[in-house]
Amino acid sequence: MKRVCASLILASLCVVAAIGQSNDFVDGLIASDSVSVGQAAYLVLVASDNLGEDADAARAFELLGTFGWAPTGASADVPILLKDYAYLLMSAFGLRGGLMYALFPGPRYAYRQLVSSFVIQGRSDPDMAVSGPVAVRMLGRVFDVKGIAE
């Protein structure tokens, strides 16, 4: 358990350092059992340099709609589903997906792609909620994947 906590703190510090987000936001995120669409949008868009750090979750959600990456029918404060978070990560970081993702880009094949590249680990399903620690860890792994790809 200590090892898990230590690795989570380390991952969080790496992500914070990499994306330059405020400690308060990341602290709140890590304590969260389910990340909202707005929080996820802020986390990912700031980390991918699509949004300035001084913006907020509402502005991030608005930008999500502009880019066409917002989950269908979602509002900023509802919990984001794992497949939608996967699609957000794939889109924001411009990750290359599989053949089916290239033909039909969307949450379904984004989820598959991140499972196959080990960004999503452990027991999961596309419609589960995303906890704060999971969101941060996935973001950290996306940096690794992007590093390898580049």
Binding site: G98, L99, Y109, R112, Q113, S117, R123, D127
Partner: protein
Amino acid sequence: MNRLRSSRTAPRALACLALVAVLCAGNAFALDFGLTLSNDSELSGGGGLSLSQSDSAVLWLSLPIGASSSIYASAVYEFSGDFTYLPSYSDRVRWYSITAGRVEWEGFVGLSESMGLGWSVGRIPLQDYSGRVLNGLLDGAVVRLSAGQAIVSAAVAYTGLTFKDDAMILIDADDESAWSDDEVAFAPRRLLASLGLRLVELVPFHDLGLDGWAQFDLAAAGGTATHTQYAEPFIEGRVARSIRWRLWGAAEFGQDPGFFYGMAAGGRIRLSAPELAGLRVTASCAWAGGDYDGDGAMRAFKPITTGSLSSVAGTMFSDALGASLDASFVPLRGLTIGAGCGANFRPNGDDSYLGFELTGRVEYKPASDVTLGIEGGCFAPNATADPDASLEWMAAASATLRL
């Protein structure tokens, strides 16, 4: 037989899917599903020339059941055909077979800081430590209890609902006669049970263990019941950062109803160097004992599921010895190139050397959901032992798309 297989199995596969669908109803929003399409073509020659073609579509679904378990279910449609062109044309085509693929309820719960219980129930992959005694998809259940450095496992399975050419059970004369009977679609009815113990890093960097398997012949009246049991101790570990090794032995005990026994063993050493383009070099050896004592109790080793020592020659793992060397590397992302060689022997024969095999393979994953592969090889038999034997060769291509 093809029609027989399909008509008998389709209701069973549909029943499995219906059961899963009912279970899914309560978790409809957490369901993941997909379709995997595969093509395998193999051209082979030697005494003749033939093409083996197989195309399959696997429809699968997966859903979580609570926080600690999940269900995976799949149904398989397959077309297969064997076409012989030389010395004369003949074909054997099975236009369709529909059956259940892997259907599994698996889970894991932590019982304490150092204890956990895992399980798997359904049509599940089962194998012994080496994969040489039993290796296949069978109907049964496995339970694993991990406590500290020990992992205890137990399994039961039934073979009679699996196609005979999937299960490959050839233990006694009844099995061989069923194998050659086109009216028989399913594998011999046998009940399997196992108990296993693995001690993790009891010796630094090494695991020790013992696998025990037993099969009970449920042959119908009139047939000969052959029961066998297998005890398989093993050790595996690493001697340096990049070198791993394993050694195993298997003692077979049987009753038909007279007592008999057989022996088998094997070992492997593998060098992995990720920094050298993912280089992996593996040397391995496997031996299955023969009938070395004439009329005595020793017989040729018979595993529960029959396997092969080599990919081109297809030397059965019974009264045989094989030594092989294999190397592979990853020159580009998604591209794996490999080559191997091996020699087969029959220590119990007059001329023990059977022949030498060379193989090569290329696998390319241009995307995460597409896999392409080509493979080729040849087997040069020992002309001294069998002057009529000719060089055997094969070339195969495969493609898989996951939708």
